[in-house]
């Protein structure tokens, strides 16, 4: 066992990749500043020099295009934004260029770029520092989208993303940065498009991603005690998505709850429910369920975010309802931690 933090795993992943391939560059606003993007880029400039590791102008759209252009001549770029929301300024380059170039030029080009986007939550992050837009990115043909939830996946998926010949949107949840996990040394890779079956079970399949995986595990432990055996699937990769494993699990359990850190309408969870209903209608023992964030922006106030996020309690209640479990004090099931808006004592703000 070698326990390291998620943020350290990211840093290791970049280091290992850059060590093994001189064509890799790494940039983003804050990459070389004293805080080094939540410590994920710490020490990189010292190791690899300022030609390969650099801070950048606050020009999200152009910098994406610059990464694309460089990639046409053999450079592999890792670009990071401290919040996903800033990257919305770069949709033209991402959607019209990175995602299309290989296809629309008849295979003449490949665009091996990795875009790390960090998703915020709570502690007043509010409407424009907290968006989980994986469904947006997954909607676009030509993009790959990953959302690691463990330190090991963070490192191995990042390395795979960097060496993938396609543009990959790498979504990192800020609340995971301090989580600990066993991470192998060296240049480890994980196949993009493979999920993790974190827990085997027979009664219901719970699908989750990113930070919600932690909540789903908590819920499944509680449900175990209540006699409900949950199979927990951490998607890890949003696009391509591991349909084989999802279908295999739902065939076994006959029930599904798809959870999503994003807004409900047109969510990844919605897509999973649609596909499962189409492909496995006959195998379902209960109506499929979805649990995603409400279709409203995340409010800022400490008061307004109480009970706002979906969590272990919501997941447990949904599952209990399928099995007609009657519980007296439903709202007491796995209550939100106090305070509700931080991932742990380590987080003191501001972002």
């Amino acid at each position: 066992m070698r326990l390291i933090k998620y943020s350290e795993a990211i840093n290791e992943g970049i280091c290992e990749a850059m060590n093994s391939d001189k064509s890799i560059i790494c940039f983003g606003l804050g990459t070389t500043d004293p805080k080094a993007i939540f410590s994920t880029t710490v020490g990189l400039e010292e190791k690899f020099g300022s030609e390969r590791v650099f801070d950048m102008p606050t020009s999200e759209n152009a910098m994406t295009g610059i990464a694309i252009g460089a990639s046409m001549n053999g450079i592999k770029a890792i670009m990071t934004h401290q919040r996903l929301d800033f990257f919305l300024l770069a949709m033209d380059q991402l959607v019209n260029n990175a995602a299309k170039a290989h296809y629309m030029f008849g295979g003449a080009l490949s665009i091996p770029i990795t875009i790390r986007l960090i998703i915020g939550r709570g502690w007043g992050q509010g409407p424009t520092h907290s968006q989980n837009l994986q469904a947006w990115f997954a909607h676009i043909p030509g993009l790959k989208v990953v959302m690691p939830s463990t330190p090991s996946d963070a490192k191995s998926l990042l390395i795979s993303s960097i060496f993938d010949p396609n543009p990959v949107v790498f979504l990192e949840h800020r609340w995971l940065h301090n989580s600990l996990g066993d991470v192998k040394k060296g240049l480890i890779k994980k196949k993009i498009g493979e999920c993790n079956v974190l827990k085997n079970g027979k009664d219901i399949t719970i699908i989750c991603m990113s930070y919600l995986t932690i909540e789903a595990i908590k819920a499944s432990n509680y449900l175990e005690v209540k006699g409900i055996s949950c199979e927990v699937i951490d998607l890890s990769s949003i696009k391509p998505i591991d349909w084989d494993s999802i279908f295999y699990s739902v065939k076994k359990t006959g029930r599904i709850l798809a959870c999503d850190t994003g807004f409900t309408t047109c969510s990844v969870a919605g897509e999973i429910i649609a596909r499962v209903s189409i492909e496995l209608f006959d195998k379902l023992k209960a109506k499929p369920l979805r649990l995603a964030m409400p279709d409203v922006p995340e409010p800022t106030s400490f008061g307004l975010t109480k009970g706002f996020y979906i969590g272990a309690g919501d997941i447990a209640r949904k599952c209990l309802a399928i099995f007609d479990h009657k519980t007296d004090n439903e709202s007491d099931i796995l209550p939100e931690p106090v305070p509700h808006d931080i991932p742990g004592d380590w987080f003191k703000g501001p972002f």
Partner: protein, 322 residues
Amino acid sequence: MEESIDKKKLLKTMMRIRAVEEKIAKEYSQQKMRCPTHLSIGQEAVPSAISFCINKNDFAVSTHRGHAHYLAKGGDLKAMIAEIYGKETGCSKGKGGSMHLIDTNVGFMGTSAIVGNSIPVGVGLALSCKLKKSDQISVVYLGDGAVEEGVFYESLNFAILKNLRVLFVCENNLYSVYSSLDVRQPKHRKIVSIAKGIGAKAEQCDGNNIEECLKVCTYAISTMRKEGGPFFIEFATYRHREHCGPNFDNDIGYRTLKEFETWKLKDPISNYQNRLLKEGSCSKKDFQYFAKEIDDEIEEAFEFAENSNFPLKSEAFKGVYS
């Protein structure tokens, strides 16, 4: 007489681009070239001049109006025509059309249908050259509309910051589709002054006078090769035909016939021909000879495109990922 040979070649480069575009215009109504097509007729001098100052391994990226840039960089003519016809032999295998041309064999790294979209790509290519310690340059073709996009400012800023060898070639033809400069940019501000304001070396040039274009480009490129850093040139130019399609559109009321005729008198090709005749460095016979040679090549390219197959329908579902 080496100089006169260059002049002939310069003229022929322009004549070839013009003839290709005229042929597309002539055949377009047959409905076989079924994609939006933006012709460069009237704007041939700038890319022709640039093609004389750069090497095959230098890079170029361009816009929706990119035929001339592709051809001047040495892009394969047959593959371009086949692409406009949507054929499997097209440079983008029928997936791109007129607005998505590419020929990586000659460093022509693609055109884009989105205004300003290829600007940062050209800057990224220049960044890759710097990382690889190469003195290749990257040519970014853009129009007067693109300088209104935020990405233009962002890209030029980065090129200056990192001292990248990017030649920004702004072909100011006064219109973004049918919207004139007056409704888009302040009256007394020159585009070149924006580039200077951001901190680039920048020049203005008559885009209808190919020898002047050649002079300015030669200076800009030799400066870039020597000192590094970008250079911005604003060329005054004018498209003779409609924004998109093969026709003239002076009747629809967004520009006056008088304006059109004034610019037509500045036509880069006929003026250069007259000049070469006057100088005695070319004869009318030379022109006819060039035209014949060019026409034969173009006929062959169109025949190639017509005779090529459409891609298999199943190809539509392939090549999304590499």
